[in-house]
């Protein structure tokens, strides 16, 4: 450790750089990974061997019980049905909300008059707690997939719309003039300047909106449903089954992580020009 520190200070003081020995150093990303795994294992161990014995497993369950439950769910297929149902409303709502959000965001950002007129309405609608709209959605659309999709879309829409609008308003007017001077029409300007310029904002919002989509679906299922992960968790709570609740949460967490990583991959590809030596 001290060896490492003295090398660093030497390098900073302008002396010739010392080549690090490859044999006794761990690459930083491996170290990060190792500590991550250790931390995860430690949390599980504390839960399993300290929390569970002290508190009542009735309340806190335990990692081993949760693992067994997940295994049961997977082998008898119940989790697949519930998960697919939740995913269905998540994806449809996410896609619809995002598309509408991008479209309306573009319009409100690009056409100043429309933006000026609509902005306060958006603020008002967005400030409504969406859970409170649940009863209305059910009244209108019944208790099957549709109200959950609407719940998801209503959450996703505002996140994506607000960001798209900001991104479109943020476009450097000089870039627009470059194309305008070349005689480009509005549609070309939209496609060649505004969309690529706002893409960073839109991707950021798609990433932020993803957990919201999952939240919307689960809330929708908790309000009224007979299927889905939200229903499953609520049902487990109803029969005082903490293991079932935790198992449901683990499933949602894994799904959320996978989705977030997928979005990040897409974003990395589309914004490679931001990276200094990006290729």
């Amino acid at each position: 450790m001290t060896d490492q520190a003295s090398r660093t200070s030497l390098a900073l003081s302008g002396a010739a750089p010392v080549r690090r020995k490859l044999t006794n150093s761990i690459p930083p990303h491996m170290l990060v990974l190792a500590v991550r795994i250790a931390l995860f294992a430690a949390v599980l161990a504390v839960w399993q061997f300290i929390v569970t014995p002290i508190a009542d497993p009735f309340y806190v369950s335990s990692p081993s019980r949760v693992a067994v439950r997940l295994w049961e769910w997977m082998t008898d297929g119940t989790v697949v049905v519930d998960l697919l149902y939740t995913m269905e409303s998540t994806f449809i709502g996410y896609a619809a909300g995002s598309l509408a959000g991008v479209a309306v965001g573009f319009l409100a950002g690009r056409v100043k008059f429309i933006g000026d007129v609509l902005d306060p309405f958006f603020d008002a609608l967005n400030s409504l707690p969406r859970v409170a709209l649940g009863p209305l959605f059910i009244l209108w659309l019944g208790i099957d997939l549709a109200p959950k999709v609407l719940m998801v879309a209503s959450l996703v829409f505002f996140v994506v719309m607000a960001n798209t609008r900001a991104g479109v308003r943020d476009v450097n007017p000089d870039y627009i003039n470059v194309l305008r001077i070349m005689g480009a029409d509005e549609q070309t300007i939209l496609r060649k300047v505004i969309l690529p310029s706002a893409a960073g904002w839109i991707f950021a919002s798609l990433q932020i909106a993803l957990p919201w989509a999952l939240i919307g679906a689960v809330i929708g299922e908790m309000i009224a449903s007979d299927k889905g992960m939200g229903y499953q968790i609520l049902h487990s709570g109803g029969i005082l089954d903490s293991t079932g609740i935790f198992a449901g949460l683990v499933v949602l967490m894994i799904v959320g992580l996978i989705l977030t990583h997928l979005i990040r991959l897409v974003e990395r590809h589309s914004s490679r020009w931001r990276v200094q030596d990006g290729k």
Binding site: N177, L179, P196, S197, W273, D277
Partner: protein, 257 residues
């Protein structure tokens, strides 16, 4: 080519009207290289923006050819003072922009981009993004982006203002090469007198704000010109000091205000 008839531009600000350009009458001959010089902030850029069609004059008319200046078209190119390469496109993709609008076949686009990238000395940098290029390289890419569609008239607003003296000479030489090959009409705004004299057929000197025409000086140096040699030559220096005398009054006025 361009004719300014009694052109004034006034901006409305919180403190009332601000006159940037005051009754300019000027005729830019076809295929000539004309430089605008004047104290900074005098309204040269405003006049150029009006010529480009980005703003319309408060009074007076700008004619292009015989007709009043209409909408935007590929006939007029504009290289602005700001960095306006699209950061999400590579250098070659930026240069290709105007050709995409014409929807030329891929093969032709590629060969023209290659040609112009070589002309401005960027043939090794097709796939670099603007942030990976130096300031001079970005300037050259911006030049190529406009010249590639061969506009009849090219407006340039201090395109080399931010570059160091040596790089400026390199860029001036490249610009003259581009111009000799196409002979567009050029209006070039600068505050560097030597640059104006080296490049131009005609130098238009403006007063401090609001911009009025103070003098028009023809430069009869033979072409093709080599900025490397010309820049420090006695002829250029003589014309520069003559123009400087005109400008000097304007600058003193500025500091007194």
């Amino acid at each position: 080519m361009f004719t300014f008839k009694n052109v004034s531009v006034e901006f409305r600000t919180s403190r009332g009207g601000l006159c940037a350009v005051d009754r300019v009458n000027l005729d830019i001959p076809r295929r000539k290289f004309v430089c605008f010089v004047g104290p900074s902030g005098c309204g040269k850029t405003t006049l150029l923006n009006a010529a480009a069609g980005l703003i319309s004059p408060s009074t007076g008319t700008i004619y292009y050819g015989d007709a009043p200046r209409g909408g935007f078209s590929k006939k007029i190119g504009y290289v602005t003072q700001n960095e306006t390469l699209f950061p999400w496109r590579t250098a070659a993709e930026n240069v290709r922009l105007a050709l995409e609008l014409e929807q030329l076949p891929q093969e032709e686009m590629r060969s023209r981009v290659t040609h112009y990238m070589r002309l401005v000395g960027l043939d090794q940098f097709h796939d670099h993004y603007p942030r990976q290029l130096s300031g001079g390289m970005r300037r050259r890419a911006a030049l190529a982006r406009t010249w590639i569609y061969q506009p009849e008239t090219v407006l340039m607003d201090e395109p080399f203002g931010a570059l160091d003296a040596q790089l400026k000479l390199v860029m001036q030489r490249q610009l003259l090469q581009l111009w000799e090959s196409s002979r567009s009409t050029v209006i070039f705004v600068t505050h560097d007198l030597a640059e104006a004299v080296t490049l131009a057929d005609q130098v238009v000197v403006f007063t401090a704000r609001p911009a009025r025409i103070k003098a028009v000086r023809n430069i009869d140096l033979p072409r093709p010109r080599d900025p490397y040699r010309l820049h420090f030559s006695p002829e250029v220096q003589a014309i520069c000091s003559e123009l400087w005398n005109l400008l000097e009054d304007e600058l003193t006025g500025e500091t007194l205000q």
